[in-house]
Symmetry: C2
Subunit: 184 residues, 2 copies
């Protein structure tokens, strides 16, 4: 009886570890991005929240909300403030069109009258980007590989050629612009 219980627990343990490893380092079956050969990491939507961002342009055409998530290795480095990030660290940037709802704003106006509160939120999905740390494989690009996907399809080579030059100014932060948002 005890032996059976142990076996069940062992099976559970192996199951938990297996699921965890798939989420942390597995890649999907889809197409790999050019240059760096990165596929969409499985389970990235379940990763830890690092920060939230917004991106706009001068013409007023771009209104983008973003979330930065990271796998366990990258999260630990962010929280400990340790640079450089360890091999295996992955950071995901999820980008959405900024949306609003008249009904939600009406509820805000009723709840907090006279303040003119306006709320926006993540609307339709735009794209998702990944930075994958492998100091040997990606030695020529600061130890990071880059990938950009929209609708599960990678962007083209020209797009991926812009990744590393744009991140170069953040060299003293191991090429990562995102700061870990403090926990309120």
């Amino acid at each position: 009886m005890k032996f059976t219980s142990s076996l069940v627990l062992v099976a559970a343990a192996v199951g938990v570890v297996a699921v965890y490893m798939t989420s942390a380092s597995g890649q999907s079956d889809g197409e790999a991005a050019p240059i760096y050969g990165i596929k969409i990491p499985e389970g990235f939507r379940d990763w830890h929240l690092i920060s939230v961002k917004r991106l706009t342009d001068q013409a007023g055409k771009l209104h983008q909300l973003r979330a930065e998530l990271s796998n366990d290795l990258a999260t630990a480095a962010f929280r400990d403030g340790k640079l450089p990030f360890p091999d295996g660290a992955i950071i995901a940037a999820l980008h959405w069109n900024e949306a609003s709802s008249d009904a939600d704003d009406a509820a805000l106006a009723a709840g907090f009258p006279g303040q003119g509160l306006r709320s926006t939120f993540a609307g339709s999905a735009m794209n998702v980007q990944f930075m994958v740390k492998d100091s040997k494989k990606y030695a020529a690009s600061g130890g990071w590989g880059y990938a950009d996907f929209a609708n599960g399809k990678p962007g083209n080579q020209a797009l991926h050629e812009t990744c590393f030059p744009c991140h170069a100014p953040a060299k003293d932060r191991d090429y990562v612009f995102t700061r870990y948002a403090p926990t309120p």
Copy 2:
């Protein structure tokens, strides 16, 4: 030898389960919020990302970025589109002052010239709010308890009296304004 290995694995399994349960349903040792008696749930920063938001006011004084996270029960309901949320579901709203960095914007300008891109991100922490589903305990407020904390301290009773009336317009979404952001 095999028996020892099993014991180690069993211990690991129990450890994993224990950590998981603490994160999913544990409460911190801090002060409880008035009316609903809710303490800060342990490990909420590790919960799943539901969506990202921004809140502004007409006077231009408030510029807030927000992230909505949820525990496993609430996340499953969001992803399955199932209403009402089950008892035990908890949603966290993390609020930050919107910040910017001239260095980051200079890097954007260099990488994408002529577009006038501007990035903002989660700066200093403001407050964190929780919605806790317990259809019996909180029957008088639509089945949800509400809590608001800043610097680990709960807001006063007057603040907490505003929570349910403000969420009432979202009754047909089980009092939850936040929509699950699609995965890019």
